[in-house]
Amino acid sequence: MTTAPSTAPVQLPTPRPQARPARRAARRIVRRLPVWLLVTVLLVVMLYPQFWMIMGSFKTQTEFFANPTWALPEQFNLDNYIDAFTRGNVGINYRNSMLVTLPSVALIVLAGLAAGYALEIMIWKGRRQVLLFVMGGIMVPGQMILVPLFTVYFKIGITDSLLPMILTYTAMGIPLTTFLMAAYFRAIPREIFEAATVDGCGPLRSFFVIAMPLMKNSMLTIALIQFFSVFNDLLIALTFTTRPELATIQVGLLSLSDQYGSTQYGALFAAISINIIVLLIVFVFLNKKIMAGLAAGSVKG
């Protein structure tokens, strides 16, 4: 650290030789002070609202009325959580979200992987045009397809299930996934597939035994991107929730807020806190993968 910037915040008088290391450390601390202050403010802004929400979820109805909203709960009672699960249907909402999200993500990833292989590794006339045709769907908003889909789902009588959501999410996820998969396949040296052919492995077999294992990381990345975009969707879920038992987490939270938001704060606070806590646990284990995955997805997109 010999090249200290000329704008040192403190000017100290006549240096005494033995004080030099201590003084340098002090100057360093003073110089770092604004940074630490900034980081502290940043972390408070990011974390306090979540902490406040979780603390609020332990409060009783009387505490909400009697104490200021920033006060800590008087005791940790779990009544609100019981309320959220029994009357608020949080458990059913979570189950629905998983029943919709997991099959959709699996379908999106598999369909995109197969199409990416067919469009990038296989060589045929018109594959560029087909890729462009599929990519055209990336920008189309969900609103543009909902009315016809709603009509058709109603006609074939599947609106009373989670199937409309799964089908719609799959269709919505395919364009971006196909595009990303094709881009990832482009990065793999063709020689790998050609060598397999020389060894007598047909192109369909090399899709399963070579492409799939090679693309494991890319599949995980895309699965994460799609997981969060399906899990956090409200528009499609709201359109196809024909009765409360089909509500996903997002829809469930919204109706919970409509029903109890202005009277029973506890249950709502608990329902929101459950989301924060569950996702925090998932995030602690997967944060590197999630952060890298979501970032990679949007750069290519």
């Binding site: 940043l42 972390l43 929400m53 292989y117 016809p148 409200l234 998932v282 999630i290 952060m291 750069v299």
Partner: protein, 293 residues
């Protein structure tokens, strides 16, 4: 070799399922929706061909024009804010915190994965819990200010919506731009430093030009996401007060599914699609040229 990779059967097996889902559930509905925008009515009432009436109605519908304004202003303000804050955070991670940035990076990113409705309800509660005012106004009072009823006014609701979106997604843009900054070769920055470039000048002349491609793709990504904003404005204040903060997406949803106006709803959806297209082209055109240079 090309004969093997041109095998028709393999192509069909791998491509057909994807392509048929895409065509059946996306392409045909888009075309269908396009057609519907020339009709009035719904499935129960029947449809009536009205030509360009829906488009004329849209041009004179103050609620529709207001929702276009809400969508566009929200998208522009949030995009400018979140890319700026994200970039500043990325610079903080790379040049100030360096190796020690992992915890801050993770903590600021986390709200991105929370359900948007949960975030909106959290912010709604920070403003007010039923009749009681929330910590935000408590803090304003502590500094001697008057309590503000944010959600009672259009400007207040939009302010909260922007802050809320920023809170939940700036960490994501920070990570995105951070990975871009890490790709800048160490030697370039070092040699610029030796030539005497420090602080703002180093950022302005070296770092920003070198990270321009990722900056532009962040802007496109952000515009595309914010133009489609639906959940946060719906959950925060139900598009209110009145319908003054209802974006185009919400106006379309209500027209089509609450008032069962499938035809007019499709017209609004088309307007939304065109809006996304125009924004992407406006950003993409000059940017792709500049990147190639």
């Amino acid at each position: 070799m090309s004969r093997v990779f041109g095998d028709k059967k393999t192509i069909l097996i791998l491509l057909l399922p994807t392509l048929s889902i895409y065509v059946l559930l996306k392409v045909i509905p888009v075309a269908w929706s396009l057609g519907l925008s020339f009709f009035q009515g719904n499935t129960l009432r029947g449809f009536e061909f009205v030509g360009l009436d829906n488009f004329r109605e849209f041009a004179g519908d103050s609620a529709a024009l207001n929702s276009v304004w809400v969508s566009v202003s929200f998208a522009v303000i949030v995009t400018v804010a979140q890319v700026t804050f994200g970039y500043l955070l990325a610079l903080l991670y790379v040049f100030v915190l360096r190796k020690g940035s992992a915890f801050v990076r993770t903590a600021v990113f986390f709200p991105m994965v929370l359900p948007t409705v949960a975030v909106a309800l959290l912010f709604k509660s920070l403003i007010a819990v039923g009749e009681n005012q929330g910590p935000v106004n408590d803090a304003i009072n502590a500094f001697g200010g008057e309590s503000i009823e944010f959600l009672a006014s259009t400007a207040g609701t939009m302010t909260i919506a922007v802050i809320m979106t920023l809170w939940s997604s700036m960490g994501f843009y920070a990570v995105l731009l951070y990975t871009g900054l890490l790709d800048i070769p160490e030697e370039v920055v070092e040699s610029a430093r030796m030539d005497g470039a420090t602080g703002p000048r180093l950022v302005g002349y070296i770092i920003i030009p070198l990270s321009l491609p990722i900056l532009l793709s962040s802007i496109i990504f952000s515009l595309n996401a914010t133009l489609k904003v639906f959940d946060s404005l719906l959950a925060l204040n139900n598009g209110g007060p009145g319908t003054t903060t209802a974006p185009l997406t919400l106006y379309m949803y209500r027209t089509a599914f609450e008032y069962a106006e499938y035809g007019y709803g499709s017209t609004i959806a088309l307007a939304l699609t065109l809006l996304c297209l125009v924004f992407t082209l406006v950003v993409f055109r000059p940017s792709s040229k500049r990147v190639e240079d």
